[in-house]
């Protein structure tokens, strides 16, 4: 049945082929055509590869034809110049590259009038066109299907696993001996800020950012809140934590309550120290600005991720004369925090804050693991830069070494 069907496609395709092309002559049909289910995907896709022609110029074009079982004749999926659609353009890492880099590759995906059903066989062929001449390769049949593992991302998995072992190893090492932590001025100032608020008899304002609990920066902000709340409880200073996300509010309520318990001051804890305002960005900003101007907190903490509201919040805080400490992984907002806050925890320092404030070996060990990870990245950057520079200076082909470093990124 399959043979009959393939022959039918071949005959129909031949009917579309001009006489002079069939006769032979100047345009050769694409060679080494392979059609296969696109690897490492969720299905609904086929990939076709073929060899580069001996002489490819602007006049030579390729057409990819697909024959769907329900359709009568093959459908033209794409037509493009012969100097495009190479395997190297597909940006697949070297370990999953389906063919040599100089071969042609085209991926047929569902959408735009094509509906590739998993488990259904399709015939695909490639036609070479030069002027009025056409030459087609023999159609090849294959069946698309989904895959259970994306081998393109194996590098990512390997790095995470190795990094995980490095972190766990560093934690074990930190339990055995003390690890040096460099001074972070912003975190040293936490005590100063709380002390100042206590002296002035004014409250402390702590914001956990715009993110929800699924964001690491919000988790880091909540963890730091626990450390800050413990010290605030010891000084019996008022703490205000307005929230944008009700789930973050519920989590922070528990963290704050536990901190007051650990500080031995459960009676000082106020249930409404954590309160919800709104999920709307600028309504929240207006409300917090209002709190700053009316209550005039002596210390403002801005931890977590922020967007356009960052400057509106910190500039208002600066105008009230409060000591301001920010910590964010929103790199685009860092300039605003640096210009308006007294201290800013830049990027990873936000994640390091928990370790710095607690000095627990488990936490400090994680920082050492991160440092080792950074050192490895630095070495990879150095090697990559050296190869790239050498290839330009000495006109040498280090493409394999460069691909090796590039694809491991």
């Amino acid at each position: 049945m399959k043979t009959v069907w393939t022959l039918t496609i071949l005959l129909i395709s031949c009917a579309f082929t001009p006489w002079n092309a069939r006769a032979g002559e100047t345009v050769s049909p694409p060679q080494q055509v392979h059609v296969f289910d696109t690897p490492d995907d969720g299905g609904g896709s086929l990939t076709v590869t073929w060899a580069k022609a001996d002489e490819e110029d602007k006049s030579l074009r390729y057409q990819v034809l697909l024959h769907e079982p329900s359709a009568g004749e093959p459908k033209v999926i794409a037509e493009f110049a012969s100097d495009t659609h190479y395997v190297r353009d597909a940006k697949a890492p070297w370990w999953t590259r389906p063919a040599p880099k100089d071969m042609h590759q085209f991926t047929i995906k569902s959408g735009k009038g094509i509906d590739l059903k998993d488990g259904t066989p399709y015939a695909v062929t490639v036609v070479a066109i030069a002027g009025d001449q056409r030459a087609l390769a023999a159609p090849m049949q294959t069946t698309p299907g989904p895959n259970w593992f994306n081998w393109n991302q194996i590098n990512n998995l390997a790095i995470v696993v190795i990094f995980g072992f490095v972190v766990l190893g560093s934690i074990r090492a930190a339990k055995r001996r003390e690890i040096f932590l460099r001074r972070i001025a912003g975190l040293d100032a936490v005590d100063e800020a709380i002390g100042r608020a206590t002296e002035l008899g004014k409250p402390i304002l702590y914001l956990t950012g715009a993110g929800d609990m699924s964001e690491p920066s919000t988790v880091a902000a909540a963890v730091i809140l626990g450390r800050v709340a413990k010290r605030v409880a010891a000084y019996e200073t008022d703490l205000m934590v307005p929230h944008r996300d009700p789930i973050v509010m519920a989590v922070c309520q528990e963290i704050t309550k536990q901190s007051y318990l650990e500080a031995g001051k459960p009676d000082v804890f106020k249930e409404d120290s954590n309160f919800f305002i709104t999920t709307d960005q600028f309504s929240y900003t207006a409300a917090v600005d209002g709190i700053m101007l009316r209550k005039k907190p002596a210390a403002n903490f801005f931890m977590g991720s922020y967007f356009a509201e960052s400057l509106l919040l910190t500039e208002t805080g600066a105008s009230t004369g409060a000591i301001q400490i920010a910590g964010t992984d929103s790199d685009h907002q860092l300039p605003f925090f640096v210009t308006t806050c007294d201290y800013t925890l830049i990027g990873e320092e936000l994640y390091a804050a928990s370790a710095y404030l607690s000095r627990e070996p488990v936490q400090v060990g994680t920082l050492r693991g991160q440092d080792i990870g950074k050192a490895c990245i630095l070495v990879a950057l150095g090697i990559g830069t050296a190869f790239a520079t050498a290839s330009v200076l000495f006109h040498a082909d280090f493409s394999f070494a460069l691909d090796l470093v590039k694809d491991w990124k």
């Binding site: 990512n156 998995l157 972190v167 988790v219 528990e254 963290i255």
Partner: protein, 216 residues
């Protein structure tokens, strides 16, 4: 009790953490379906959590009004605004327009909410000017460098600047593409490693402070 407060949340975190970390590497439709389902669960949980948030908001402001605390009038305005919007919204079935005509609910959104949000956003322009004035005063060597770089970049980004000093465009591009981009990438590498380390600590139960502190 400890099991419910400690071990069970840690177990759920470990299982779901591993499961969804693995999901990233599995392109199969069933994996995508699982992610979609869980995203819907999160939306439902978020909906219920909003009740928690609104209850907190009502409670805080009710206490302020009852005790006549300083600024209780603002709380009253909040109550009036919120309840008024809810009632009008329910009256119009949550629709902003009916047969092409703007409803009262739509009017509140278009002519009150949107301009108020726009006003807050517009204030940003003035705040940027005041923050820039404060930070660009060349009080230290670093501030002087910042000032010079900022002036060059500002000149290079406007046609008049490029007309006055033609090279400012190229210098601006160099500052942005070389100096700025490299520092930004360094920060992003640190952030990414920090986020991965924190995620690993949470998945493996090393970091438990988010559960409410304690070490038991």
């Amino acid at each position: 009790m400890t099991f419910l407060r400690r071990q069970l949340p840690l177990l759920i975190t470990f299982v779901t953490g591993i499961l969804f970390a693995a999901q990233y590497y599995i392109p199969h439709p069933s994996s995508e379906l699982m992610l979609t389902s869980v995203s819907k669960w999160l939306q439902i949980i978020g909906g219920f959590a909003l009740i928690l948030g609104v209850t907190s908001l009502f409670h805080i402001h009710a206490v302020k009004i009852r005790r006549k605390e300083a600024g209780w009038g603002y709380s009253f305005v909040l109550y009036a605004g919120m309840l008024g919007t809810i009632v009008i919204g329910l009256w119009h079935g949550g629709k902003e327009t009916t047969d092409g005509v703007t409803t009262a609910f739509g009017w509140i959104y278009t002519f009150m909410m949107v301009p108020l949000q726009g006003t807050m956003f517009a204030i940003l322009a003035f705040f940027i000017a005041s923050a820039a004035y404060r930070s660009f005063r060349a009080r230290s060597r670093e501030a002087a460098v910042l000032l010079i770089a900022a002036v060059i970049v500002m000149l290079g980004r406007v046609p008049l600047g490029e007309h006055l000093i033609p090279i400012s465009g190229d210098i601006t591009q160099w500052i942005l593409n070389v100096l700025n981009a490299s520092v930004r990438r360094a920060i992003l590498i640190g952030i990414s490693l920090g986020a991965v380390a924190l995620s690993l600590k949470i998945i493996f139960g090393v970091e438990r402070a988010y559960l409410g502190g304690g070490k038991e």
